[in-house]
Amino acid sequence: MIRCCALILALLILPAAARAEQPLLADLTSHLIAITTGFTGTSVVLFGATDGPGDIIIVVRGPERDVVVRQKRHLAGIWINAHTVEFTGVPSYYAVFSNRALDRIAPAGMQALHQIGIKNIRLDPRDPNRPADEIATFRTALLDEERRAGVWSERPDSVSFLGDRLFRATIAFPSNVPTGTYLVEVLLLREGNVISGQTTPLVVSEIGLNADLGEFALGNPWLYGILAVAGASLLGWLASLAFREA
């Protein structure tokens, strides 16, 4: 409810600010996504205003990491991970939102320059000396797998305009959303050129008992393991007592 009021207020104030001088102004309803015990995915609303008609593209990138792509080969009757290529600096989450199809907003060159669209994400192989066709095959596979996992997506027609100047988009995160600091880049385009841009951070973090557990498991694995054994032993012992009485 409070969030909703804030949104309405912001939408009332924003056009005035935009009129002043900023060609683009945008913000998120929340800058923190908390993954709690019952987390099954969530969404954040991005809203903003422009100083006139134009196209809006929103690019959301998660923290980068290195990824290994493995290819199964048919060997001795079974399918085995046989071939691998590693890529560095792969965004763990990538989503593009726009008010219409990307190709109708900007020419291919402009999209590539700003890394707009899944096919334009920069991916560097760890070993650049591998054959080019091999790198290309594994690159395509990486794009497909990230898309299939739901962590990379392209959503044209997901930015809606209210009149000429106000816009909003719902950014959905699946339950397997990676944690870390995200960057939300909002671009205003006119006739295929980027007029203005704004970048906002967004933090995805696990909170509550489960986050503490996950962190604890990584930071203090010996104690975690011992406590896991103690917990199971206690439960086993209690069960033994309970059912002896019965």
Binding site: G38, N210, G231, A232, S233, G236
Partner: protein, 308 residues
């Protein structure tokens, strides 16, 4: 999608609590009826519902600590635990689990751990299922048991030649200490790589190879499984960070209740038919695993973050 989803911090997925409790209870029920640990059924079922196989293996081991403790306590009250035998098997088991966890980490880095887990399970379940099906259908048809089998497994001369003989008062045995140590080692490796207690191997081996009295076997086996699975849990947590304690405790809660119901109902139900049913379940799970390994994968590529 379930009604009450819980986020599992290590597995990194959300699953339905009620479903997990029922899964634990179903496996616990079968283990209560049949007197087996059930780890060999729990791990592949967890993999089928989407738990990453390294996490399924390590969390099953965690779950087994509690399940085997409950069982062992019941046998201990009846004096059915040979502690000397159990401790020797345990010594081998600890070494075996350390070796197994090291092997597990090595396979994980090379990207072959899923393959090894699936292959070992397919082989294990196919053999177990076939043996159980033959045994139970034989008993059901009231066929005479092949009498020669016992004698073939009794390799008296060779076993008696081993050094370091010890007297086991409880089991009324005078055998080499190396036998339980080696048996424990083998089961320790299995426990680490597959997330099983290994009762299906130790129990027949203790009866036929070591010649222990049947009354002492399940309690001693369970006693040793508590500590080996505890060691596997701690080592997996340290070496691979694959123990999901939330998953393990939910499964355990369902499991202990299911096991109690199972052991009570077990007396009323027909043993051979249940064993035949379990054999068919095992064969079906094995067939699914083999199918997944041999069928052309829908997606030949897979991705994973590079381990630092």
């Amino acid at each position: 999608m379930g009604i009450l989803e819980v986020y599992l911090p290590i597995a990194g997925i959300s699953l339905d609590v009620v479903g997990l409790l029922l899964l634990g209870a179903a496996v616990g029920f079968l283990s209560g009826v049949l007197g087996v640990g059930g780890g060999f059924l729990l791990t592949p079922l967890l993999i089928f519902i989407g738990v990453p196989s390294p996490v399924a293996v390590a969390s099953s081991a965690n779950q087994l600590v509690g399940a085997s403790l409950t069982g062992a306590l019941a046998y201990w009250r009846r004096g059915g635990v040979d502690f000397l035998m159990g401790v020797l098997m345990l010594a081998g088991g600890l070494a075996g689990s350390a070796a197994g966890v090291w092997l597990f980490a090595l396979l994980r880095r090379s990207g072959q751990i899923e393959l090894v887990i699936s292959l070992s399970y397919a082989a294990l379940l196919a053999v177990l299922g076939t043996l159980m099906l033959i045994e139970s259908s034989g008993a059901w048809l009231r066929r005479r048991r092949p009498g020669g089998q016992r004698h073939k497994l009794h390799q008296h001369n060779w076993l008696h030649g081993l050094p370091l003989k010890l007297r086991f008062r409880r089991s009324k045995l005078y055998i080499s200490a190396l036998l339980p140590i080696l048996l424990g080692f083998l089961v320790g490796v299995l426990s680490a790589v597959m997330g099983v207690g290994g009762g299906f191997i130790t129990v027949p081996a203790m009866i036929y190879l070591l010649g222990m009295p049947t009354a002492m076997v399940p309690g001693t086996s369970l006693f040793q499984i508590i500590f080996v699975t505890a060691a596997v849990t701690i080592l997996q947590a340290v070496a691979n960070n694959t123990v999901d304690v939330v998953l393990a405790l939910i499964l355990l809660l369902g499991g202990v209740i299911g096991a109690q119901l199972g052991s009570r109902w077990g007396a009323k139900l027909r043993g051979e038919e249940l064993r035949a049913l379990l054999a068919i379940i095992l064969l079906a799970v094995a067939a699914k695993l083999v199918f997944d390994l041999t069928a052309r994968p829908a997606f030949p590529f897979s991705i994973a973050p590079v381990e630092p």
